[in-house]
């Protein structure tokens, strides 16, 4: 296991710059998640670390040593691809044994066997070992892919959206399994995803990437409770954060085009116009609530229900536990949790208050 560091990585392709000055560190045994939308440069980051892509500027360090010039086989990493990573003309056993059979490792067949069975047991795929990979289901395939990574003890696991091609149930199951394996093996893992739930549930730390730049690095609580930009605030959290235009006049904050007026927070300066962010769970229904709105739409999800409340010209989304008895068009009273409000400048940067 090891410590990985990226220093000012910039990667340019012919016409596009995929990564701009990306720097971060992954601690030994950490589950580090790279979160970002499609095209943010997540996969490129992985490929640069793996050595499959050469960075234009910057350095990659493993345990404090620069490995920029090491080819992929010598970097001692494991890569789980989004798809296509199993060899279709080999059995599951041979697929798992393939990394161990690399000539550079000179491992005896007996040891390979032992390691393969050990990995298969961890992933509960022992019964599949003799099968051809073309006869596996998607979940089984991805398990075998993970198996190919854990048969050897690499310095770092790189996972490129390993769960995104699976159906929702399997994804949930494998998510839990993956986190369990990572914690019991104590392996350093860099996990790439565009799914904020995967990021929040599995990560020790998350780096949010957008258009080739790191936007924010922090643990899931930081990312969720103190998003550095509007982009991060909107990326994490379902349903999405409520984001409304607001004005600040002599000590009162008012949401534009609505009847909602709040006192200004004691500390911190707010510009005249800004964006106000409210997480749906911080819009709380209360019969004695300060504000009033009209129920516009209900999305019952079972565990919770999402209510869309119209306040003036604005619409706020709020979640309530379980199914709701409220009717469409009903007048609802609610409160906003003041200490959990987010303030952003017009250019998207968070205002600390």
């Amino acid at each position: 296991m090891s410590h990985v560091e990226l220093q000012h990585i910039t990667k340019r392709f012919k016409t596009v710059t995929a990564l701009r000055d990306v720097s971060f560190e992954i601690q030994d045994g950490e589950f580090f998640v790279l979160l970002g939308p499609t095209g943010a440069g997540k996969t490129t980051t992985l490929r640069v670390i793996a050595g499959l892509e050469q960075q234009t500027y910057g350095h990659v360090l493993f345990d404090g040593e620069i490995v920029d010039d090491l080819p992929p086989p010598d970097r001692d990493i494991a890569f789980v691809f989004q798809q296509y990573s199993l060899y279709p003309n080999m059995s599951v056993y041979d697929n798992l044994a393939f990394p161990l059979r690399a000539p550079m490792r000179r491992m005896s067949e007996a040891e390979i066997r032992q390691r393969v069975y050990q990995a298969a047991e961890i992933l509960r795929i022992t019964h599949l070992l003799e099968r051809r990979t073309s006869h596996l289901s998607g979940g089984e395939m991805q398990r075998v892919s993970l198996g190919r990574a854990i048969v050897r003890q690499p310095r770092i696991f790189l996972m490129d959206e390993p769960l995104s091609n699976l159906d929702a149930k399997l994804r949930e199951a494998l998510r839990v399994e993956l986190k369990h394996i990572q914690k019991t093996q104590g392996s350093t893992t860099l996990f790439v995803t565009h799914d904020q739930i995967e990021a929040l549930t599995m990560a020790d730390r998350i780096a949010v990437l957008n258009k080739g730049r790191i936007v924010q690095i922090g643990n899931p609580t930081d990312i969720y409770d103190r998003p550095a930009t509007i982009f991060v605030a909107q990326l994490v959290g379902v349903p999405r954060i409520n984001l409304v235009d607001a004005r600040c006049d002599d000590g009162t904050i008012s949401i534009v085009n609505s009847s909602v007026h709040l006192p200004k927070p004691v500390s911190g300066d707010l510009p005249r116009t800004f964006k106000l962010g409210v997480r749906p769970e911080h819009v709380q229904l209360d019969p004695q609530g300060e504000f009033v709105g009209q129920l516009l739409l209900i999305e019952p999800l079972g565990v919770e229900s999402i209510l869309h409340i119209k306040v003036g010209q604005q619409s706020l989304v709020c979640t309530v536990p379980g199914m709701t008895r409220h009717k469409l068009g009903e007048e609802l009273r609610f409160n906003l949790v003041r200490e959990r409000l987010h303030y952003f400048r017009e250019d998207g940067i968070r205002i600390q208050v």
Partner: protein, 370 residues
């Protein structure tokens, strides 16, 4: 039919997995398709069948009008049917001195002879009738000699055929292996790396195919004379390899493009070098493409006529010009030409048959995936 009317649906089912529920009209369609297929196969195979029949014909039978297509062995298979009694004008069978009916051959029958096959392997010389009679009585001639003696020919030595055939095998085989091997390496590079001026290179490679071979034979002939590789195996192998390279690079690039590069990248991070990954991961998956390319290259090199005619005379002469220039004593020896052509077909058929499983997928150029 009855069952169909009892339980079948009101409107015809044209496609069904249940044989008993297929409408008779649909079944008729299958029959028609089968018949059409058989007719097409018969048309395609006819020249080959005709070639095979010609190998066992005498020279007059080979060019007989109307054509003869039923072989028989004298006093053996089919001879009873093929030999019919000759009739007098009044319709009674003609009898010979001993009172036996005189027999004659039906017009569509010919008797089997091996003179074409023997003639292919040996040089022959014409005998005078007196010599022929004398030689026929001599006990020192073997069966092969006797077949030709009946035609008034005597064997004077082995022919060039074996040598030509070996030349074809060596030249076509080696150049195919080289063209596919080099083509594979070049195609892999073109498929996987950003090479400066890649489109130009690819176009250049293809452009070597744009001139008809005949146009460049004279310059190549002069070059070969200067270099001292005129009429050598090396010279012909070099030439066919170069000509096949354009085809193999383009074909194989298409096949390699189909193989996701993630496979090799997975092997790379798993600790394999680029060449090891190529051998262990890419090669097995490219088998289909390699097989298809091999067959195409082999067919070109095997059948090539113009270059061989111009650039070889004896040592390295291959089969195609040799067959064309087969001469007999006083006229074209159709049986010899047919026998040579039949033997010439065999290697390509064997290779194609051996690789047929790969070819089915390969010649569709990756349209059907695994």
């Amino acid at each position: 039919m009855a069952r169909f009317e009892e339980v079948g649906p009101r409107s015809p089912i044209i496609e069904s997995t249940r044989v008993d529920l297929v409408h008779p009209r649909a079944r008729l369609g299958v029959t028609i398709r089968a018949i059409v297929a058989i007719v097409i196969v018969a048309i395609m195979l006819f020249p080959v069948v005709w070639l095979a029949l010609t190998t066992i014909k005498t020279r007059p039978d080979a060019v007989a009008v109307p054509p003869k297509f039923i072989p028989y062995f004298p006093d053996g298979l089919l001879s009873d049917w093929c030999m019919v009694p000759q009739l007098n004008k009044d319709g009674t069978p003609k009898l010979d001195k001993n009172g036996q009916p005189v027999l004659k051959e039906r017009a569509e029958c010919f008797d089997v002879t091996l003179e074409g096959i023997v003639g292919l392997f040996f040089e022959r010389r014409t005998l005078t009738p007196a010599q022929q009679k004398q030689y026929m009585e001599s006990p020192e001639f073997g069966w092969a000699d006797r077949i030709l003696l009946k035609r008034g020919l005597v064997i004077t030595g082995p022919s060039d055929f074996v040598n030509r055939f070996r030349n074809s095998l060596i030249i076509a085989g080696t150049s195919t292996v080289l063209a596919v091997a080099f083509g594979l390496l070049a195609a892999y590079a073109f498929s996987r790396w950003d090479i400066k001026g890649k489109p130009d290179f690819l176009f250049f490679i293809l452009s070597t195919r744009m001139l008809p071979p005949v146009v460049v034979t004279i310059p190549i002939f002069l070059m070969y004379r200067q270099l001292g590789i005129y009429d050598t195996h090396i010279g012909m192998i070099l030439l066919y390899t170069v000509f096949n390279l354009s085809l193999s690079v383009w074909l194989l690039k298409g096949f390699l493009d189909e193989i996701p590069k993630e496979y090799e990248e997975a092997a790379l991070v798993d600790g394999y070098s680029r060449m090891q990954a190529f051998r262990k991961v890419v090669l097995p998956q490219a088998a289909t493409g390699i097989a298809a390319t091999t067959v195409f290259c082999l067919i070109f090199a095997w059948n090539e006529y113009a270059f061989s005619l111009m650039l070889t005379s004896d040592v390295a002469r291959t089969m195609p010009p040799a067959i064309a220039s087969t001469q007999g004593a006083g006229g074209l020896e159709w049986a010899i030409i047919a026998t040579a052509s039949m033997l010439f077909l065999i290697p390509v058929v064997v290779i194609t048959f051996a690789l047929r499983q790969h070819l089915l997928r390969g010649v569709t150029f990756g349209a059907i995936r695994q």
